[in-house]
Amino acid sequence: MSADGSRRFAANVHGWLLVLPAAALLVLFTHYPTVATFLRSFFSTAKGARGSAFVGVDNYRQMIDDPIFWQVLSNNAYFALGTIPVSIGLALLMAIWVNGRIAGKGWLRLAYFTPTVLPMIAVANIWLFFYTPQYGLFEQVLSAFGVPAHNFLGSKDTVLTCLIIVAIWKEAGFFMIFYLAALQQMSPNLAEAAAIEGASRWHFFRRVTFPLLMPTTLFVLVNAIINSFRLVDHVVVMTRGGPDNASSLLLYYIYEVGFRYWDSAYAAALTMVLLALLALFAVGQFLFMDRKVHYR
């Protein structure tokens, strides 16, 4: 081996040694449990004297015939479609607004951050109070405008929309942080040049700002998609999936199957479906992050 080659080999070993503890912890606490879940999804749930046995894809077959699974999946898709575009749009709007020269900017930023830094479990409680029939501020303000009383969390038609609003409230500020960071990196020369050329503000946004923000938008988008499948605290606190599964999301259904019905094998199979969906988004982010989205 040449001296140069061996030095490079030594540097690599150094690097791997530095990475090793972190990798070991992650493998032990996230990768290994996931593999265990994957294996479990091919076995039956042990019941009484009858132990767990290999059943092949039976758990997955059961899923296809399970109407609640399909309902929960469509609920989740609806939840994602309702949450993502609005929260990203709002985040961008707020970031541009806060980035400008306006009075009380610091306070405004703080106001946006507040929902973001609150734990989801607290957010869920806050909105539970807010939506409460009769007492809740939401109902009181609506009744001041003449809207009749309505149990928003107790009705099949409105409950999912209520959860969507909570998620937007919680997430828009978080996404704004990333947009704000990207906006502050942008050279002011661009805006000056555009102003000299006589471009309107809208035109400047559409042709310069927005394309330059593309990497941030993609990063935020993938996070938003993942979050819409990964959040569950609000369902636990506010609705418990009800009424009649109208607000149950995939992850909450997994929790129910595993801990209310004690069918751990079926829960494992459901988990694998969720994981497959999420892994798809994560890999997509990894593959697209460096390419194609940059403005040239």
């Binding site: 150094h14 972190a22 606490f29 109070f129 009769q134 939401f138 990207a182």
Partner: protein, 278 residues
């Protein structure tokens, strides 16, 4: 410009202003309404239907929460203790990894990054269930070290990402200058690289602290029933219909979060944020 056209633009301008004010009002209600509701509950002594607002305000519930022998104070101490330990464990592991991933020309770096990236997509709940089972056998279930390990694993992904980004944004020329002036590798790291990357690493530590302080699901599965953190206390209070205690606990949780958020704004420079996830 004719008088008529001028009048029209003024009408349009007033209309626009009204529209903007209405939108702003709606927006303000959207952001602050729920928080206002929380404040009402935190200070409500009595609130029965059909009263629109609490009929009596007071600090009785605050006294109960801040009672030194009450379980709220004990939860606060537990929560902060767990969070601080989690940050120490996490940074001790994440800083070397971040240095290697952000600075060294590692072979198979992409594959290693994938190992670190994937957990951010894993659903936590099934993972916690499996961990709880393993911890039960190791007698770690229901103990503080068990909860710290779960929180550290949870915060590690973000900590590694942020410190890798922080190390990557340090100018290589400065290191080379230090080496040329005769500093050894270790001294160069301690006096040049680490201080320059420190703001990003501190921000990462703050994120880990907050994540740990706010973590609910993992603590629920691994810590119950012996480890009671503030989020668990709030959950129990709320499920028991004790809205005042739940509201006050939520406010307590808000204080460190907002404080640290202000700090993060200082430490987390845009050029570090912009390299996140790249």
């Amino acid at each position: 410009m004719s008088a008529a056209a001028h009048g029209e633009t003024r009408a349009v301008r007033i209309g626009k202003m009204l529209l903007r004010a209405a939108l702003l009002g709606l927006f303000a209600f959207f952001i602050f309404g729920p928080l206002l509701n929380l404040l009402l509950w935190a200070f409500a002594e009595r609130w029965y239907f059909p009263n629109k607002l609490p009929s009596q305000y007071g600090f009785t519930f605050w006294e109960r929460v801040f009672n030194p022998r009450g379980n709220a104070m004990a939860s606060l101490v537990t929560s902060v203790g767990i969070a601080v330990t989690t940050v120490i464990v996490c940074l001790a592991i994440a800083v070397p990894a971040g240095l290697a991933l952000g600075r060294l020309q590692l072979r198979w770096r992409a594959a290693i990054m994938l190992v670190f990236l994937l957990p951010s997509a894993f659903p936590n709940l099934p993972v916690y269930v499996n961990i709880a089972r393993v911890f039960y056998e190791l007698k770690l279930a229901g103990t503080v070290p068990g909860v710290v390990l779960v929180h550290a694993a949870h915060g590690l992904v973000l900590a590694v990402w942020i410190s890798a980004a922080a190390f990557a944004s340090v100018d290589k020329a400065l290191e080379e200058a230090a080496r040329n002036l005769g500093a050894g590798a270790w001294r160069c790291f301690l006096t040049v690289t680490l201080p320059l990357a420190a703001p990003g690493i501190i921000a990462g530590g703050i994120f880990v602290f907050l994540e740990s302080l706010d973590e609910f699901t993992g603590t629920f599965f691994v810590g119950v029933p012996d480890v009671q953190t503030l989020p668990l206390l709030m959950f129990n209070a709320s499920m028991g219909g004790n809205y005042q205690i739940a509201s006050i606990t939520a406010l307590l949780l808000l204080v460190p979060s907002v404080g640290f958020m202000l700090l993060v704004e200082r430490f987390l420079k845009p050029n570090v944020m912009a390299t996140l996830g790249r």
